[in-house]
């Protein structure tokens, strides 16, 4: 059985799971939009906004990544439910390549992250973010959000496969908060204390935010865009590696 075909059918099934639990997706969307509004309302009204001309545009990528992390975090939760109720074994007993079971869920997360990013970008545009890189720039941000979701879901997936515990899998989502807040999330990192600026500089999430901000506020800044892609790829390589190791362990018959 072909890996791609199996992955397609399994991602379709995982996606339908989300369609049938819409309140989960509403939560994933509400929280980042709420923080988006509050942050813009609180900091965006400060005088000169730390030198940022368009603070709504500056904050929009933060809302995107926050929402995408929520979406990606639920991948692990879904996998643990499959493991606990025995459906994971039922899927393993088919002719589908075992890794398709993992990839199917992750692909579904990537697609859900893509849709959520699109919604946040549209909301941002309605509230005045603008889009200096035009329609293709917006499309690129949506793609980047999807890829970030795909990459980030590897963490929850690895935890889910290794532990089979829903509580542990949800911790995958919590890991995102230090990553987000130790990046250039609220103001340019030059305004941070030295230690925090250093952490934000080595944090790949900073470069994902910068790539999205560049497209929104400055147009096609190739260096920033390339760095954002490399950062997502780096996060993806790490999380996919972890998920693969956990999957191998699980497939041995944990």
């Amino acid at each position: 059985m072909n890996l791609l075909i199996s992955t397609f059918w399994l991602s379709r099934r995982a996606f339908m799971e989300s369609v049938r639990q819409p309140w989960l997706e509403i939560g994933n969307l509400f929280i980042p939009l709420f923080f988006f509004a509050v942050t813009v309302g609180a900091i965006g009204s400060l005088r000169d906004n730390f030198g940022v001309d368009n603070f709504i545009a500056f904050q929009m990528p933060v809302a995107v990544l926050q929402g995408v992390a929520g979406v990606a975090g639920s991948a692990g939760l879904g996998m643990t439910q499959d493991i606990q109720r025995g459906y994971f074994d039922k899927l393993r007993l088919t002719s589908a390549p075992p890794f398709a079971i993992v990839l199917g869920r992750m692909a579904s997360d990537g697609f859900r992250a893509l849709i959520l990013t699109l919604i946040v970008v549209v909301v941002g545009l309605l509230f005045g973010t603008g889009m200096e890189a035009g329609v293709f720039g917006a499309a690129f941000i949506v793609l980047l959000g999807g890829l970030f979701g795909l990459s980030y879901s590897g963490i929850g997936m690895a935890i889910a496969l290794r532990t089979g515990s829903p509580q542990a899998a949800q911790a995958g989502f919590l890991l995102f908060f230090p990553l987000l807040f130790l990046s250039e999330s609220f103001v340019p990192k030059e305004f941070y204390a030295g230690w925090l600026e250093f952490l934000a500089t080595i944090n790949p999430v900073t470069y994902v935010l910068q790539g999205m901000r560049a497209l929104t506020m400055d147009g096609w800044q190739w260096m920033a865009v390339t760095k954002s892609l490399i950062s997502v790829a780096g996060i993806g390589a790490l999380t996919m590696g972890l998920a693969t190791m956990a999957a191998r362990w699980r497939f041995k018959g944990a």
Partner: protein, 326 residues
Amino acid sequence: MPAIVAERLMKHFGPDIRAVDGIDLSIPEGQVFGFLGQNGSGKSTTVRMLTTLLQPTSGHGQVGGFDVLRQPGKVRQACGVALQEAGLDELQTGRELLALQGRLFGMGGDHLKARVNELLRIVDLEDAADRRLGGYSGGMQRRLDLAAALIHSPRILFLDEPTTGLDPISRESVWRYVQQLNKERGVTIFLTTQYLEEADRLADDVAIIDSGKIVAQGSPAELKASIGTDVLTIGVEGSAEATMSAAALFRQMEGVERVQEVDGALVVYVKDGARAVPRAVRLLDDAGITTGAITLAHPTLNDVFLRKTGHHLEAGATVPAAEVRT
């Protein structure tokens, strides 16, 4: 060529737990094989190894002529499996679940649609086919699980305690369908069970597994015959001392092969049971021991199980038997 083979198959969890301890099996094509044992005896672990879900610690397994370690994909294509817990996705409908299982076996189009409809009809779930599985009863989920195991028309079917928790009517319908699959389509069936009646009724051959080892194997008739005696169960009223005294008397009685105490009664394995009953009663009378209820039976699989493992086998529980030492 046998449909299922196990050679010195072993699974250890850590140094102390020998879940399956070197079992050998050779199950011919077209047979219904009953794997009988109490909870935790190693039945499900054996199924998981033979169906590629669990790597053996050592030994070999073959299903449909394919090696479970080297050709797992071919093993999965050759067999259908309904595990002990009907692992289903409660957000899917019955029809969707079967269709997805079929697609993951490479099926599609009208053939898959027809197969799904056929199986839904067979397991009597046509009316519930488009309802989500969260609303299915336990029996309905079991039947759907069985249908899912059959979606790709496997030659070999593993059923891990398929009727545990089912009501008698659902159980009867599963039994009928298992027999039909075997007789009409020649499907080889590996059935684990803790119901003696199930093994007796369905299985051509039975193996009893206890603490990871096979302790007896043969057809139900052969296993019963292997006991070689009738089974006389005698209630003894009074103290435990009276029971011990009665056991000592029976041990000396002609034709008695073995005496066990089970739940306060004495189980006496004796040749020519019909003649032994009056002798047994007289013996106890003469010794001043009051006799309770007496039953005489030809050996059942339960007696075989008791003889081989020292335990009665009951659904969901085992009752330990004590060998009476006098």
